[in-house]
Amino acid sequence: MNSRILNNIKKDFLIEIRNRSAVNISFAFAGITTLSVSLAAGGAPFTPVVHAIIFWIILFFSAMSGLAHIFIREEEEKNSLFLSLYYSPEEIYLSKLIFNIILFLSISVIVTALYLFFLQVFPVYPLLFILTVISGCFAIASITTILGAIVSKAGSGSSLFTVISFPILLPVLWTAIRLTSVSIDGSGVQEYRNIVFLLAFSGVIISVSYLTFKFIWTEF
């Protein structure tokens, strides 16, 4: 099973590298949103909470623009039937999940670097900040993978994706915003326990998605 999943991930990466437009657009979207915030602010000072809110809103919309793509592409190219002939639904889910996690972590690296650089933010606890970004992005990627599959089957694009993702992503966004603001201003370092919450939440979502994915992918 492992080699089959790796095979599928390799296939996805090859396709994305050959036709770079979609991934490029996701990266460009993330970069431009960050830059536009910085340009619009024009050096005005933000409080740590405002920094945290803007940072996670940028990450949220970057996820909304890029993470449904992997499933929508399979539907558009009419590949989904061939995929289900060769792979079991669980294998498809796990490979797409890993692809999305890698993609979103790399998007978040760009957003974080640009944000810290252009808005001159220096977190008091850099380790907490990095751990928050990694676990928050992990949670966002794991939730949006199953919802991306749902959206690709509905065939109505990214606006539906945002609508159905928002209520389910709210606990992640709240926790991540709180942790980020703490790591920037340095108050209440005991909040680091909430990282466990982010990881636990993604664990629950991943296990339920793993169980229910076949009902989305195959007709029953």
Binding site: I146, S156, V163, I164, F197
Partner: protein, 227 residues
Amino acid sequence: MKSYSRLIFYFLIFAVMPGVFLRALIWTPAAEFLGESSRILYFHVPVAWISVISFVTAGYHSIMILISEKERDEREYKAYNAAYIGIIFTILTVVTGSIWAKISWGSYWNWDPRETSIVILMLIYISYFSLYSALKDNVNRMGISSVYLIIAMITMPFFVFIIPRIYPSLHPDTIINADKKIHLEAAMKLTLFTSIGVFTIFYGYIYKLMNRISSLEFTQQEKRNDN
């Protein structure tokens, strides 16, 4: 037997329910600090209760669609109808709640934990209906919308841990407090619980009616397809 139980059902809805309303508005004493405005309690709490019950009902039918092969088509409209009633009652909860909030806390909206959770419930219902309507031509509509509702349902317990940490509460802790008792006078408690009871029966009544309509439409559609 069937007509006898139906008679009790109608009696509860058309005679006892107005009686409970009258009792809530006239005979029950008003709360000490809140005054006459406290009477909205007997409508606000039951309506909120129904919106949660509908969510659980819709979630139950969604799980059953996935795990059992029996009555799938029936369960699809049952889940949909429960969500349909749920969103109406959620809107009613928000409206009655914000009227009461204006009177007792001074503004229509305060981002109190319970206000926040009811808004999230409303968002989930709205997303569910958007998804459901987007899936109109999909043969797998019932499976996909059920999966979404299940994922939304497992998210709800996490909000219980998260929201109170973010927003301070203004709601009186009548239900959740240290000594696990409900601090209400006996007369008010009686009115509140009978009100919740009749509202639940009323919910059962409209839910049953909607399911009957859907089942008739479903058989009609099937006959049309056969011809």
